[in-house]
Symmetry: C2
Subunit: 313 residues, 2 copies
């Protein structure tokens, strides 16, 4: 594995980007974005911040590891108020503790939320910030150590304005169009719901059946189950085209056939999953609309049961 050390490029206007969250997504974004701007990673644990300050963030991609050293890492602090933009890359279930802190920073600083599901929308709606962007990440990545992230699948990040004007963060999109692409979409609901449905169909099934994403299309029984779940979910999202969603999901399983879904990885590692933000949210929505979802209820109970079993051991 070759190792390349590069310094942040000193061209154009340096913006200050804050990234909250030292998980795989936080590390991935910090690594790429720090190539052109001044980056501060805000971690929950002091020892992770220490590791990153000492070593930088190493990215492993296609067998090559690249380390960027000029990343400042810290735990939650005043550093937040001096950023030009803040990207929030914590899991949905860790967001609630963060909201009071976000609300205390100047309302002019745009925030970008990258959580799965839509359960966080109600929470971020109460924030004071003038510009709030929501996004979905299509990169495949895995945290290896506190300061190393593996970039398994190169994708894009879809951003949509939830409130305010996306023009405030246009510099972010143009600066990385060749190296770490962002795409803008006008309708945040469509962006988040599309990802919700994809996650709701693939993640619980793979984690219950313990198969890689490709297993869902290679096994006719599993394929049938996946399509049955999708059929149950589609009435919740009339804005999405049914045939396109089916084709997209089959293609995603094909393109990521050797990948293990994040939920399968969480279950196998004994971690909490995002089941409540994903399938839990969809089921609640179904209840409100009196739409019966028996298969989704089974999937939900199985994943919650697996989580509960892990808590015991």
């Amino acid at each position: 594995m070759g190792t390349i050390h590069i310094q942040r490029r000193k061209e154009g206007i340096m913006m200050k980007i804050g990234v909250i969250g030292g998980g795989s997504i936080g590390l991935l974004f910090s690594h790429y974005l720090s190539a052109k701007h001044s980056l501060t990673l805000l971690a929950r644990r002091k020892d992770q911040a220490f590791q990153i300050n000492e070593k930088g963030i190493t990215l492993i991609h296609d067998g090559t590891s690249t380390t960027i050293c000029n990343i400042s890492a810290t735990v939650m602090s005043d550093a937040l108020s001096s950023q030009d933009i803040i990207i929030i890359a914590v899991k949905q279930y860790n967001l609630s503790t963060l909201l009071p802190i976000l609300n205390s920073i100047p309302p002019e600083i745009p925030l970008i939320f990258l959580q799965n599901g839509l359960a966080h929308i109600e929470q971020i709606d109460r924030l004071n910030q003038k510009t709030i962007i929501v996004g979905t990440v299509e990169h495949g990545c895995q945290k290896i150590t506190d300061a190393t992230v593996k970039h398994n699948g190169f994708g894009k990040t879809l951003l949509a304005p939830y409130r305010g004007d996306i023009e405030h963060i246009r510099w972010l999109i143009s600066d990385f169009k060749d190296t770490f692409p962002f795409l803008i979409h006008g309708d945040w609901k469509e962006v988040l719901f599309r990802k919700l449905i994809i996650n709701a169909v693939i993640n619980p099934l793979t984690s219950i059946l313990k198969v890689e994403n490709g297993g869902l299309i290679e096994n006719p029984y599993y394929l049938h189950l996946m399509m049955s779940i999708l059929e149950e979910l589609l009435p919740l999202v009339p804005m999405l085209n049914e045939e396109k969603m089916k084709a997209d999901i089959l293609k995603i399983c094909e393109n990521t056939k050797e990948n293990r879904s994040s939920m399968l990885k969480d279950i196998d590692a004994g971690r909490k999953t995002e089941i409540d933000a994903i399938l839990g949210y969809a089921i609640e929505l179904g209840k409100k609309r009196q739409h019966s979802m028996p298969i989704c209820n089974v999937m939900y109970a199985m994943v919650k049961g697996k989580e509960a079993d892990q808590g015991e051991s």
Copy 2:
């Protein structure tokens, strides 16, 4: 582990009992019944017959192993026509190849069928035998080698006349009342449906979730799933008391909490399961009665999918 060798007791009238099938149930019945009668075990494989003729059948129970040597074992042969009674202990999915052979033996020989589910009823209905008994086995047992069976849970065998008179096999019941109890029930449908429901609720769930029977009552999500499956199945069996079935299933899970269900063992060993005879049969019944069973359909697809995956590896 202590070892006791005992010879068949030479008292009373010796009857000739044929047991077809060298799986765990076949070995268990052969071992116990050979203590008082002349037993012939009919195996599919010559080498298993050879092993049993050489070594007898060893039973392991409560840490003690007991070997009975006077058991004659053979592959399918004329031996069938000279039995006083024949017990058929093969899996349901292996029964069809056996039926022409059974039909060729004298119609006076009573047959006892011990298969799970009810899928075999249609098949045995076409036989010529005057007396046909069906039964369910509540013993827990596990085949260790071709000539050794472990008796994990001591239970009883429930027998009910499907055709003819149970009086023809009364000697079997009275001879073993203290050592290997048989109980007679008047209604074969009730006997088989009760076992079908118990198996349909416990077996697929434990094999999908990879938990022991106790796991289904210790985990609140799994308990809820189990009760939801039972709710779907109960309309198919109006002859069974709903509250009693619920209580029975909870008690069975409690009493066998450290046991792994036969279906879980089959899945883990890469063997074919009895899913079609159990849940497959119930689902077909539901279709005929236009009773919707979405959760059972999910369980069925998951077990069939696991079977299909194993075929590949």
